[in-house]
């Protein structure tokens, strides 16, 4: 079972953002989409989730996404936006309950609290969403998204998490926690597709990586295959070297050494 994008092309005005990109993510894996700013990685995710007009074809678990109704899609995949705003003073638990609106987990009243606990915000249910810090708000949105597709497999079919920079405003401890959450979701049979900026976390947690550069897939494969000196240096336009200690002392820190 897979999440497939074939020949995805997105034009914004006269400019082509994506020039016929092929993308594939497998269920049971965490697939990262990486690339420099403005490369089109978020656009690719937005095309995959149907938020943006595109030409080409998207298929989820072998079914053409264009032929699926909104509520059917909502039962198969949940989408975490990059920046989420909220109108009106909803409390945290009320926001997460919105995730129950759709999907096969609809109506399971205890899910929002379990999702809140999963993102490390147990006890925050009664707070106002607008009072939260950026990182807390991002995790509340993640909890809402998790609530929508709580079981990684439903009716024998994998379900999908599409996440646009899920750890961008989190501290390193919560980054590790959320990455582990995504891994677990994949390990239990679901599929996770995440746009990532942090290459260390990508190397640590991703099973597959697609590197987007100038609207095309520059490389795809395992992290070891994609995150190479040549590919990275070319895409990010600076001289990068993997697995290399800093030349002169100083302090440096990698998430790899942390234990949760």
């Amino acid at each position: 079972m897979s999440f497939l994008g074939q020949n995805i092309r997105v034009d914004l005005g006269r400019r082509a953002i994506l020039h016929g990109v092929d993308f594939c993510a497998k269920a049971g894996e965490l697939t990262a989409i990486v690339g420099p700013n403005g490369s089109g990685k978020s656009t690719l995710l937005r095309a995959l989730c149907g938020e943006m007009a595109f030409s080409g074809r998207v298929a989820i678990n072998g079914r053409d996404a264009a032929a699926l109704k909104g509520w059917e899609l909502a039962g198969m995949r949940a989408v975490l936006p990059q920046a989420a705003t909220l109108a009106f003073p909803f409390t945290v638990i009320e926001v997460i309950r919105l995730g129950l609106t759709a999907g096969v987990s609809a109506g399971c009243a205890s899910l929002p609290l379990r999702a809140l606990e999963a993102v490390g915000l147990a006890g925050y249910g009664g707070r106002f969403y607008q009072e939260l810090s950026g990182g807390e708000a991002q995790r509340v949105q993640l909890a809402r998204v998790l609530t929508q597709v709580w079981e990684p497999v439903a009716h024998g079919m994998p379900r999908w998490l599409l996440l646009d920079e899920p750890v961008s405003s989190l501290d390193i401890g919560h980054q590790l926690m959320v990455m582990q959450l995504m891994r677990d979701y994949a390990a239990r049979g679901g599929g996770v597709i995440a746009v990532m900026h942090d290459l260390n976390l990508t190397a640590m947690f991703a099973d597959a990586v697609s590197m987007v550069h100038r609207g095309e897939i520059a490389a795809c494969g395992t992290p070891a295959e994609v995150l190479t000196d040549a590919t990275l240096s070319h895409a990010y336009r600076c001289n990068l070297r993997v697995n290399c200690e800093p030349p002169q002392g100083g302090t440096w820190l990698l998430p790899h050494t942390a234990t949760l």
Binding site: G75, F88, T91, F128
Partner: protein, 358 residues
Amino acid sequence: MTLAAYDESGVADLPDRTVVARRLTLWLGLLLLATMTGSLATGAASTSLWAAFGDLAQGRALSRVDETILWNIRLPRTLLGALVGAALAVSGAMMQGLFRNPLADPGLVGVSAGAGLGAIAAIVLGAMLPAGLMASVGTYLVPLAAFAGGWVTTLVLYRVSTRGGRTSVATMLLAGIALGALAGAVSGLLVYAADDQQLRDLTFWGLGSLAGATWGKLMAAAPIILLALLGAPFLARGLNALALGEAAAGHLGIPVQRIKNLTVLAVAAATGAAVAVSGGIGFVGIVVPHLLRLASGPDHKTLLPNAALLGASLLLGADMISRTVIAPAELPIGIVTAILGAPVFLWILLRRRMVVDL
């Protein structure tokens, strides 16, 4: 009234607001019953509702005068007031949900201005109609024209802001302000052309009043308003999801475009009908949803029915004041709602800093 009590760890122990809102529905229902009874019992005439009840209970017939006052004057007025109040409050709540903005109001997107233009045109230009036609449409000309004005404005607004089957809410807001200004300018031109008697009619119509309530007007407005009110709860889930933004609502499986279409339709119908029978009554659409959001949260599933109940009670209360304050004359109800509504509105804005963003 504080919304959340925090213990020392900073964790709120907020009661489930769904329960609070449901309990509130019950109280607001009782409040509406009380204000409806009060509205039937008060008026310029000395007829007593209680004496009439007593007479009926003992099998005595009502006097002609009492029957006319209660049945033909007060009852349609009470029912119309309740319907108009509910329509204005629910329209406001739906519009705010659609625009994701607590300050949105049918007045803001030009629907009320369009309806107003229709009414003014009818008052000023109605005299030019052939006498025969005038005799047949007669008293219904102004409400009909107001309703048509509101509808046409909404259709134009919708046409301007919809491209390729997608409605841009931001464009709609801006286009609404432009259309409202245009309708206001044309109304101004008509006012310029009006004679003294027409000017007086215009002014009173613009301030709003329930004084002209008849069974005929009630029967004309009731089906439209009731349809919009009864349909509103079906939009609640969609409006809740829209708070996350259109894209996120779509990912939750909400048919966003259909929700937008139906909301605009319901608001145009309810506002058009309300303005048509009662003129320009302000502040109900903004103040009522605000107060309810403060009391029991922004969930539209309970907000919409509660807004209908509180809006109806509020308007009936304002109407009772307008009828009794300078009796036997009447104060236009728009003045009462503005005098009561504006300070409440300011108070809400001042409170904002203490609680959270509305």
